[in-house]
Protein backbone atom coordinates (compact mmCIF):
# COMPACT_ATOMS: atom_id res chain seq x y z
CA UNK A 1 0.00 0.00 0.00
CA UNK A 2 1.16 3.54 -0.66
CA UNK A 3 1.91 5.89 2.09
CA UNK A 4 -0.72 8.42 0.96
CA UNK A 5 -2.59 9.91 3.84
CA UNK A 6 -6.33 9.74 4.19
CA UNK A 7 -8.08 13.08 4.04
CA UNK A 8 -11.52 14.54 3.87
CA UNK A 9 -13.38 15.04 0.57
CA UNK A 10 -16.76 16.58 -0.12
CA UNK A 11 -19.16 14.35 -2.07
CA UNK A 12 -22.10 15.53 -4.19
CA UNK A 13 -24.93 13.12 -4.94
CA UNK A 14 -27.43 13.40 -7.82
CA UNK A 15 -30.74 11.82 -8.66
CA UNK A 16 -29.75 10.58 -12.12
CA UNK A 17 -26.60 9.51 -13.94
CA UNK A 18 -27.40 12.19 -16.50
CA UNK A 19 -27.34 14.90 -13.82
CA UNK A 20 -24.11 13.57 -12.33
CA UNK A 21 -22.38 13.54 -15.71
CA UNK A 22 -23.73 16.97 -16.63
CA UNK A 23 -22.33 18.30 -13.35
CA UNK A 24 -19.00 16.56 -13.95
CA UNK A 25 -18.67 18.05 -17.40
CA UNK A 26 -19.67 21.54 -16.30
CA UNK A 27 -17.31 21.63 -13.33
CA UNK A 28 -14.37 20.25 -15.30
CA UNK A 29 -15.01 22.79 -18.07
CA UNK A 30 -14.89 25.53 -15.43
CA UNK A 31 -11.68 24.26 -13.93
CA UNK A 32 -13.07 22.56 -10.85
CA UNK A 33 -11.44 19.13 -10.41
CA UNK A 34 -13.97 16.39 -9.67
CA UNK A 35 -13.74 12.62 -9.57
CA UNK A 36 -16.75 10.34 -10.20
CA UNK A 37 -17.04 7.69 -7.51
CA UNK A 38 -19.62 5.10 -6.52
CA UNK A 39 -22.25 6.88 -4.40
CA UNK A 40 -21.38 6.33 -0.73
CA UNK A 41 -24.22 4.87 1.29
CA UNK A 42 -23.92 7.78 3.69
CA UNK A 43 -25.52 10.04 1.05
CA UNK A 44 -28.73 8.04 1.23
CA UNK A 45 -30.31 5.51 -1.07
CA UNK A 46 -32.37 7.82 -3.25
CA UNK A 47 -29.45 8.77 -5.43
CA UNK A 48 -27.94 7.50 -8.64
CA UNK A 49 -24.93 5.22 -8.49
CA UNK A 50 -22.43 7.93 -9.35
CA UNK A 51 -21.36 10.74 -7.01
CA UNK A 52 -18.74 13.44 -7.53
CA UNK A 53 -15.82 13.78 -5.15
CA UNK A 54 -14.30 17.24 -4.67
CA UNK A 55 -11.65 18.93 -2.64
CA UNK A 56 -13.40 20.76 0.22
CA UNK A 57 -11.92 24.10 -0.89
CA UNK A 58 -13.82 23.82 -4.20
CA UNK A 59 -17.14 22.65 -2.83
CA UNK A 60 -18.89 25.96 -2.15
CA UNK A 61 -17.94 27.40 -5.55
CA UNK A 62 -18.96 24.21 -7.29
CA UNK A 63 -22.37 24.23 -5.65
CA UNK A 64 -22.96 27.82 -6.75
CA UNK A 65 -21.93 27.00 -10.33
CA UNK A 66 -24.32 24.06 -10.45
CA UNK A 67 -27.20 26.05 -8.99
CA UNK A 68 -26.76 28.63 -11.73
CA UNK A 69 -27.62 26.05 -14.37
CA UNK A 70 -30.33 24.44 -12.23
CA UNK A 71 -28.32 21.28 -11.73
CA UNK A 72 -29.31 20.57 -8.18
CA UNK A 73 -27.02 18.68 -5.86
CA UNK A 74 -29.42 16.20 -4.28
CA UNK A 75 -27.21 15.34 -1.33
CA UNK A 76 -23.95 16.56 0.11
CA UNK A 77 -21.65 14.65 2.40
CA UNK A 78 -18.09 14.01 3.34
CA UNK A 79 -15.88 10.95 3.07
CA UNK A 80 -12.43 10.02 4.20
CA UNK A 81 -10.34 8.81 1.27
CA UNK A 82 -6.83 8.78 -0.12
Amino acid sequence: MSGRQRRTFVVFGFTTTHAALAAEQLLKDLGVPVTPIPSPKSLGGALCGIALRLDPVDAARAEILLERVELAVAARGEIEDV
Binding site: T16, A22, S39, G45, A46, I50
Partner: protein, 388 residues
Amino acid sequence: MPGPTPRPVAYLDHGATSWPKPQQVVDAVVRALTDLGGNPGRGAYAMALDASRAIFEARRTCAELLGVPDSRDLLFQPGCTAGCNLMLKGVLKPGDRVVVGSMEHNAVARPLEHLARLGVEVVVVNADSTGLVDPDDVERQVRAAPARAVVCQHASNLTGTVQLIGDLADIAHEHGALMLVDGAQGAGHLDIDISALGADAYATSGHKGMLGPQGVGLLYLAPDLDAQTQIEGGTGGGGSESPDMPPERPDRYEAGTANTPGVVGLGAAAAFVAAEGPEQRRREAELTRRLHEGILEIEGFHVLGPPPGVPRVPIVSAVHDRVDADRIAFALDRTYGIAARAGLHCAPWAHRTIGTIDCGAIRFGVGWSNSEEHVELALRALQEIVSS
Protein backbone atom coordinates in the same frame (compact mmCIF):
# COMPACT_ATOMS: atom_id res chain seq x y z
CA MET B 1 -23.31 -22.37 -47.29
CA PRO B 2 -24.60 -19.89 -49.84
CA GLY B 3 -22.67 -16.64 -50.22
CA PRO B 4 -24.01 -13.29 -49.13
CA THR B 5 -26.87 -11.77 -51.07
CA PRO B 6 -25.49 -9.20 -53.54
CA ARG B 7 -25.94 -5.63 -52.38
CA PRO B 8 -28.41 -3.59 -54.38
CA VAL B 9 -27.10 -1.57 -57.28
CA ALA B 10 -29.40 1.25 -56.24
CA TYR B 11 -30.84 1.35 -52.73
CA LEU B 12 -34.03 3.41 -52.91
CA ASP B 13 -35.79 2.35 -49.71
CA HIS B 14 -34.56 5.03 -47.34
CA GLY B 15 -38.16 5.57 -46.25
CA ALA B 16 -38.00 2.15 -44.61
CA THR B 17 -34.46 2.45 -43.30
CA SER B 18 -31.31 4.22 -44.40
CA TRP B 19 -28.50 2.24 -46.02
CA PRO B 20 -25.59 2.25 -46.04
CA LYS B 21 -24.79 4.06 -42.82
CA PRO B 22 -22.12 6.76 -42.74
CA GLN B 23 -18.74 5.25 -41.79
CA GLN B 24 -18.73 7.36 -38.62
CA VAL B 25 -21.86 5.52 -37.48
CA VAL B 26 -20.34 2.12 -38.18
CA ASP B 27 -17.17 3.12 -36.34
CA ALA B 28 -19.15 4.36 -33.35
CA VAL B 29 -21.14 1.13 -33.09
CA VAL B 30 -17.95 -0.92 -33.32
CA ARG B 31 -16.33 1.26 -30.66
CA ALA B 32 -19.34 0.80 -28.39
CA LEU B 33 -19.19 -2.96 -28.77
CA THR B 34 -15.42 -3.04 -28.40
CA ASP B 35 -14.58 -0.43 -25.80
CA LEU B 36 -17.78 0.60 -24.03
CA GLY B 37 -18.56 -2.75 -22.53
CA GLY B 38 -19.77 -1.61 -19.13
CA ASN B 39 -23.42 -1.14 -18.33
CA PRO B 40 -24.19 2.59 -18.56
CA GLY B 41 -25.50 4.10 -15.35
CA ARG B 42 -24.82 0.89 -13.47
CA GLY B 43 -21.40 1.49 -12.06
CA ALA B 44 -18.72 4.06 -11.36
CA TYR B 45 -15.79 2.01 -12.64
CA ALA B 46 -13.98 3.40 -15.66
CA MET B 47 -15.56 1.34 -18.44
CA ALA B 48 -19.13 1.81 -17.15
CA LEU B 49 -18.46 5.52 -16.79
CA ASP B 50 -17.22 5.66 -20.38
CA ALA B 51 -20.46 4.03 -21.53
CA SER B 52 -22.51 6.46 -19.43
CA ARG B 53 -20.61 9.41 -20.83
CA ALA B 54 -21.05 8.19 -24.40
CA ILE B 55 -24.81 8.04 -23.92
CA PHE B 56 -24.80 11.43 -22.23
CA GLU B 57 -22.93 12.93 -25.21
CA ALA B 58 -25.15 11.20 -27.75
CA ARG B 59 -28.24 12.63 -26.05
CA ARG B 60 -26.78 16.13 -26.13
CA THR B 61 -25.83 15.83 -29.80
CA CYS B 62 -29.32 14.65 -30.75
CA ALA B 63 -30.93 17.37 -28.63
CA GLU B 64 -28.84 20.04 -30.30
CA LEU B 65 -29.72 18.76 -33.77
CA LEU B 66 -33.46 18.68 -33.02
CA GLY B 67 -33.70 21.94 -31.07
CA VAL B 68 -34.42 20.46 -27.65
CA PRO B 69 -33.19 22.96 -25.03
CA ASP B 70 -32.74 20.48 -22.18
CA SER B 71 -31.44 17.11 -23.32
CA ARG B 72 -33.11 15.41 -20.34
CA ASP B 73 -36.39 15.88 -22.19
CA LEU B 74 -35.14 13.79 -25.13
CA LEU B 75 -35.59 10.11 -24.37
CA PHE B 76 -33.97 7.13 -26.05
CA GLN B 77 -36.57 4.57 -27.04
CA PRO B 78 -36.36 1.22 -28.84
CA GLY B 79 -37.72 2.97 -31.92
CA CYS B 80 -40.24 5.52 -33.13
CA THR B 81 -43.06 3.02 -32.65
CA ALA B 82 -42.18 2.67 -28.96
CA GLY B 83 -41.99 6.45 -28.69
CA CYS B 84 -45.41 6.84 -30.31
CA ASN B 85 -46.88 4.25 -27.95
CA LEU B 86 -45.48 6.10 -24.93
CA MET B 87 -46.67 9.52 -26.04
CA LEU B 88 -50.17 8.22 -26.85
CA LYS B 89 -50.79 5.63 -24.13
CA GLY B 90 -48.95 7.70 -21.55
CA VAL B 91 -51.10 10.75 -22.16
CA LEU B 92 -54.56 9.65 -23.33
CA LYS B 93 -57.01 8.18 -20.84
CA PRO B 94 -60.50 6.71 -21.22
CA GLY B 95 -62.95 9.56 -21.70
CA ASP B 96 -60.40 11.73 -23.51
CA ARG B 97 -61.05 12.92 -27.03
CA VAL B 98 -58.26 13.03 -29.61
CA VAL B 99 -58.26 14.52 -33.11
CA VAL B 100 -55.94 12.82 -35.59
CA GLY B 101 -55.16 13.13 -39.29
CA SER B 102 -56.01 10.27 -41.63
CA MET B 103 -52.49 9.76 -43.02
CA GLU B 104 -51.04 8.14 -39.92
CA HIS B 105 -48.78 5.10 -39.98
CA ASN B 106 -49.75 2.07 -37.92
CA ALA B 107 -47.30 3.26 -35.23
CA VAL B 108 -50.00 5.78 -34.38
CA ALA B 109 -53.11 4.18 -35.86
CA ARG B 110 -52.84 0.91 -33.94
CA PRO B 111 -52.20 2.44 -30.50
CA LEU B 112 -55.15 4.75 -31.15
CA GLU B 113 -57.37 1.85 -32.21
CA HIS B 114 -56.32 0.14 -28.96
CA LEU B 115 -57.07 3.25 -26.92
CA ALA B 116 -60.44 3.61 -28.65
CA ARG B 117 -61.37 0.16 -27.35
CA LEU B 118 -60.49 1.41 -23.85
CA GLY B 119 -62.78 4.42 -24.15
CA VAL B 120 -60.76 7.16 -25.85
CA GLU B 121 -62.81 8.96 -28.49
CA VAL B 122 -60.72 9.07 -31.68
CA VAL B 123 -61.84 11.61 -34.28
CA VAL B 124 -60.15 11.12 -37.66
CA VAL B 125 -59.85 14.16 -39.94
CA ASN B 126 -59.53 13.21 -43.60
CA ALA B 127 -56.56 14.57 -45.49
CA ASP B 128 -57.00 15.87 -49.03
CA SER B 129 -56.01 13.97 -52.17
CA THR B 130 -52.36 15.02 -51.76
CA GLY B 131 -52.25 13.69 -48.21
CA LEU B 132 -52.34 17.10 -46.56
CA VAL B 133 -54.33 17.50 -43.34
CA ASP B 134 -56.10 20.86 -43.52
CA PRO B 135 -55.64 22.76 -40.24
CA ASP B 136 -59.10 24.31 -40.71
CA ASP B 137 -60.64 20.85 -40.62
CA VAL B 138 -58.75 20.07 -37.42
CA GLU B 139 -59.84 23.35 -35.89
CA ARG B 140 -63.49 22.57 -36.62
CA GLN B 141 -63.10 19.34 -34.66
CA VAL B 142 -61.32 20.82 -31.65
CA ARG B 143 -63.92 23.60 -31.55
CA ALA B 144 -66.77 21.12 -31.65
CA ALA B 145 -65.82 19.53 -28.32
CA PRO B 146 -62.85 19.65 -25.95
CA ALA B 147 -59.91 17.55 -27.10
CA ARG B 148 -57.02 16.29 -25.02
CA ALA B 149 -54.70 16.19 -28.01
CA VAL B 150 -54.21 16.73 -31.71
CA VAL B 151 -52.08 13.98 -33.23
CA CYS B 152 -50.38 14.24 -36.60
CA GLN B 153 -47.40 12.91 -38.45
CA HIS B 154 -44.71 15.38 -39.51
CA ALA B 155 -44.50 13.80 -42.96
CA SER B 156 -46.24 10.93 -44.71
CA ASN B 157 -44.34 7.70 -45.28
CA LEU B 158 -46.59 7.10 -48.30
CA THR B 159 -46.90 10.41 -50.12
CA GLY B 160 -44.04 12.40 -48.63
CA THR B 161 -46.51 15.15 -47.76
CA VAL B 162 -45.17 17.55 -45.12
CA GLN B 163 -47.90 18.42 -42.65
CA LEU B 164 -48.40 21.93 -41.27
CA ILE B 165 -47.38 21.05 -37.72
CA GLY B 166 -46.79 24.64 -36.62
CA ASP B 167 -50.34 25.63 -37.58
CA LEU B 168 -51.79 22.49 -36.03
CA ALA B 169 -49.87 23.13 -32.81
CA ASP B 170 -51.19 26.68 -32.64
CA ILE B 171 -54.75 25.41 -33.07
CA ALA B 172 -54.27 22.67 -30.49
CA HIS B 173 -52.82 25.03 -27.88
CA GLU B 174 -55.44 27.69 -28.53
CA HIS B 175 -58.06 25.12 -27.56
CA GLY B 176 -56.19 23.68 -24.60
CA ALA B 177 -55.07 20.51 -26.39
CA LEU B 178 -51.65 18.93 -26.67
CA MET B 179 -49.81 18.56 -29.98
CA LEU B 180 -48.39 15.06 -30.39
CA VAL B 181 -46.27 14.35 -33.47
CA ASP B 182 -45.00 11.20 -35.17
CA GLY B 183 -41.82 12.46 -36.77
CA ALA B 184 -40.54 9.15 -38.16
CA GLN B 185 -40.10 10.58 -41.65
CA GLY B 186 -39.24 14.09 -40.50
CA ALA B 187 -36.03 14.03 -38.51
CA GLY B 188 -32.97 14.16 -40.71
CA HIS B 189 -34.94 14.97 -43.86
CA LEU B 190 -36.40 18.23 -42.54
CA ASP B 191 -34.68 21.04 -40.68
CA ILE B 192 -36.34 20.52 -37.31
CA ASP B 193 -36.48 22.77 -34.29
CA ILE B 194 -38.87 21.01 -31.94
CA SER B 195 -39.12 24.02 -29.64
CA ALA B 196 -40.15 26.30 -32.49
CA LEU B 197 -42.49 23.66 -33.93
CA GLY B 198 -44.72 23.74 -30.86
CA ALA B 199 -44.92 19.99 -30.34
CA ASP B 200 -45.61 18.78 -26.81
CA ALA B 201 -44.32 15.37 -27.79
CA TYR B 202 -42.34 14.38 -30.86
CA ALA B 203 -41.32 10.81 -31.58
CA THR B 204 -38.85 9.92 -34.26
CA SER B 205 -36.90 7.05 -35.66
CA GLY B 206 -33.15 6.79 -35.29
CA HIS B 207 -32.50 4.75 -38.41
CA LYS B 208 -34.34 6.53 -41.22
CA GLY B 209 -33.39 10.13 -42.02
CA MET B 210 -31.31 10.26 -38.86
CA LEU B 211 -29.00 7.60 -40.38
CA GLY B 212 -28.42 5.73 -37.12
CA PRO B 213 -28.65 2.01 -36.41
CA GLN B 214 -31.97 0.19 -36.19
CA GLY B 215 -33.35 -0.47 -32.72
CA VAL B 216 -33.14 3.03 -31.36
CA GLY B 217 -35.45 6.02 -31.59
CA LEU B 218 -36.12 9.29 -29.82
CA LEU B 219 -39.05 10.80 -27.97
CA TYR B 220 -39.21 14.43 -26.92
CA LEU B 221 -41.59 15.18 -24.08
CA ALA B 222 -42.21 18.81 -23.14
CA PRO B 223 -40.90 19.52 -19.63
CA ASP B 224 -44.36 19.98 -18.16
CA LEU B 225 -45.92 16.93 -19.84
CA ASP B 226 -46.19 14.07 -17.36
CA ALA B 227 -46.77 10.93 -19.39
CA GLN B 228 -47.58 7.71 -17.59
CA THR B 229 -44.67 5.30 -17.84
CA GLN B 230 -45.31 2.24 -20.01
CA ILE B 231 -42.29 0.23 -18.85
CA GLU B 232 -41.06 0.01 -15.28
CA GLY B 233 -37.76 -1.43 -14.12
CA GLY B 234 -34.22 -0.71 -13.11
CA THR B 235 -32.78 2.71 -13.72
CA GLY B 236 -29.30 2.33 -12.34
CA GLY B 237 -29.46 2.94 -8.65
CA GLY B 238 -31.40 6.18 -8.35
CA GLY B 239 -33.94 5.50 -5.66
CA SER B 240 -33.62 1.76 -6.11
CA GLU B 241 -35.47 1.12 -2.85
CA SER B 242 -38.56 2.90 -4.17
CA PRO B 243 -41.28 0.74 -5.73
CA ASP B 244 -42.01 3.56 -8.18
CA MET B 245 -40.14 4.86 -11.17
CA PRO B 246 -38.13 7.99 -10.35
CA PRO B 247 -39.72 11.29 -11.35
CA GLU B 248 -36.52 12.60 -12.94
CA ARG B 249 -35.86 12.41 -16.65
CA PRO B 250 -34.45 10.68 -18.56
CA ASP B 251 -34.47 7.80 -16.06
CA ARG B 252 -38.24 7.88 -15.61
CA TYR B 253 -38.79 6.68 -19.17
CA GLU B 254 -35.66 4.61 -19.74
CA ALA B 255 -35.98 1.52 -17.56
CA GLY B 256 -33.60 -1.30 -18.36
CA THR B 257 -30.11 -1.39 -19.80
CA ALA B 258 -29.66 1.07 -22.63
CA ASN B 259 -28.98 -0.02 -26.20
CA THR B 260 -25.48 1.43 -25.96
CA PRO B 261 -24.29 0.53 -29.50
CA GLY B 262 -27.52 1.89 -30.95
CA VAL B 263 -27.49 5.07 -28.92
CA VAL B 264 -23.81 5.77 -29.54
CA GLY B 265 -24.31 5.07 -33.24
CA LEU B 266 -27.26 7.44 -33.28
CA GLY B 267 -25.15 10.11 -31.61
CA ALA B 268 -22.53 9.77 -34.35
CA ALA B 269 -25.29 9.86 -36.95
CA ALA B 270 -26.75 13.04 -35.46
CA ALA B 271 -23.31 14.67 -35.64
CA PHE B 272 -23.07 13.61 -39.29
CA VAL B 273 -26.53 14.98 -40.10
CA ALA B 274 -25.73 18.22 -38.28
CA ALA B 275 -22.61 18.69 -40.40
CA GLU B 276 -23.98 17.49 -43.74
CA GLY B 277 -27.68 18.26 -43.30
CA PRO B 278 -28.27 21.34 -45.47
CA GLU B 279 -26.29 20.02 -48.45
CA GLN B 280 -27.75 16.56 -47.98
CA ARG B 281 -31.32 17.89 -47.95
CA ARG B 282 -30.68 19.97 -51.06
CA ARG B 283 -29.33 16.94 -52.91
CA GLU B 284 -32.18 14.71 -51.73
CA ALA B 285 -34.74 17.30 -52.88
CA GLU B 286 -33.14 17.50 -56.35
CA LEU B 287 -33.06 13.75 -56.80
CA THR B 288 -36.60 13.40 -55.47
CA ARG B 289 -37.89 15.98 -57.91
CA ARG B 290 -36.11 14.33 -60.85
CA LEU B 291 -37.52 10.94 -59.86
CA HIS B 292 -41.01 12.38 -59.40
CA GLU B 293 -41.03 14.17 -62.76
CA GLY B 294 -39.41 11.22 -64.51
CA ILE B 295 -42.06 8.78 -63.29
CA LEU B 296 -44.81 11.14 -64.42
CA GLU B 297 -43.33 11.05 -67.93
CA ILE B 298 -43.80 7.26 -68.16
CA GLU B 299 -47.18 6.35 -69.61
CA GLY B 300 -49.62 4.85 -67.13
CA PHE B 301 -47.90 5.97 -63.92
CA HIS B 302 -49.54 8.18 -61.32
CA VAL B 303 -47.48 9.64 -58.50
CA LEU B 304 -49.19 9.95 -55.13
CA GLY B 305 -49.05 13.07 -53.01
CA PRO B 306 -48.25 16.67 -53.79
CA PRO B 307 -47.29 17.74 -57.35
CA PRO B 308 -43.68 18.58 -58.26
CA GLY B 309 -42.58 21.84 -56.72
CA VAL B 310 -44.51 21.39 -53.50
CA PRO B 311 -42.18 20.49 -50.60
CA ARG B 312 -42.12 16.83 -49.65
CA VAL B 313 -39.75 14.56 -47.80
CA PRO B 314 -37.72 12.40 -50.22
CA ILE B 315 -40.40 9.80 -50.84
CA VAL B 316 -42.07 9.15 -54.19
CA SER B 317 -44.84 6.54 -54.37
CA ALA B 318 -46.63 5.61 -57.56
CA VAL B 319 -49.21 3.30 -59.06
CA HIS B 320 -49.46 2.09 -62.64
CA ASP B 321 -52.63 1.58 -64.67
CA ARG B 322 -51.73 -1.95 -65.80
CA VAL B 323 -48.81 -3.33 -63.79
CA ASP B 324 -49.22 -4.11 -60.09
CA ALA B 325 -46.84 -2.56 -57.58
CA ASP B 326 -45.59 -5.91 -56.29
CA ARG B 327 -44.65 -7.01 -59.85
CA ILE B 328 -42.78 -3.76 -60.36
CA ALA B 329 -40.88 -4.15 -57.07
CA PHE B 330 -39.97 -7.74 -57.88
CA ALA B 331 -38.67 -6.84 -61.34
CA LEU B 332 -36.74 -3.87 -60.00
CA ASP B 333 -35.00 -6.13 -57.51
CA ARG B 334 -34.36 -9.23 -59.60
CA THR B 335 -33.63 -7.67 -62.96
CA TYR B 336 -32.06 -4.35 -62.06
CA GLY B 337 -30.79 -4.67 -58.50
CA ILE B 338 -32.94 -1.77 -57.34
CA ALA B 339 -34.34 -1.92 -53.80
CA ALA B 340 -37.79 -0.34 -53.49
CA ARG B 341 -40.85 -1.30 -51.50
CA ALA B 342 -44.32 -2.25 -52.69
CA GLY B 343 -47.45 -2.75 -50.63
CA LEU B 344 -49.29 -0.75 -48.01
CA HIS B 345 -46.19 0.46 -46.13
CA CYS B 346 -47.85 -0.14 -42.72
CA ALA B 347 -50.10 2.78 -43.54
CA PRO B 348 -53.60 1.50 -44.37
CA TRP B 349 -55.21 4.72 -43.15
CA ALA B 350 -53.09 6.68 -45.64
CA HIS B 351 -53.77 4.29 -48.52
CA ARG B 352 -57.49 4.49 -47.79
CA THR B 353 -57.29 8.27 -47.80
CA ILE B 354 -55.46 8.37 -51.13
CA GLY B 355 -57.59 5.63 -52.68
CA THR B 356 -54.88 2.98 -53.05
CA ILE B 357 -55.91 0.56 -50.31
CA ASP B 358 -56.80 -2.14 -52.86
CA CYS B 359 -53.68 -1.90 -55.00
CA GLY B 360 -50.92 -0.54 -52.79
CA ALA B 361 -48.10 1.41 -54.38
CA ILE B 362 -44.46 1.17 -55.33
CA ARG B 363 -42.48 3.48 -53.05
CA PHE B 364 -39.05 4.97 -53.60
CA GLY B 365 -37.26 6.50 -50.62
CA VAL B 366 -34.34 8.70 -51.61
CA GLY B 367 -31.52 9.27 -49.15
CA TRP B 368 -28.06 10.56 -48.48
CA SER B 369 -26.32 7.75 -50.39
CA ASN B 370 -28.20 8.16 -53.66
CA SER B 371 -26.91 9.67 -56.88
CA GLU B 372 -28.32 10.82 -60.20
CA GLU B 373 -27.22 7.48 -61.64
CA HIS B 374 -29.47 5.64 -59.20
CA VAL B 375 -32.45 7.76 -60.16
CA GLU B 376 -31.83 7.45 -63.89
CA LEU B 377 -31.39 3.69 -63.55
CA ALA B 378 -34.72 3.46 -61.70
CA LEU B 379 -36.50 5.51 -64.35
CA ARG B 380 -35.11 3.40 -67.20
CA ALA B 381 -36.07 0.25 -65.33
CA LEU B 382 -39.61 1.45 -64.71
CA GLN B 383 -40.02 2.33 -68.38
CA GLU B 384 -38.84 -1.13 -69.43
CA ILE B 385 -40.90 -3.00 -66.84
CA VAL B 386 -44.21 -1.41 -67.78
CA SER B 387 -43.41 -1.65 -71.54
CA SER B 388 -42.57 -5.34 -71.54
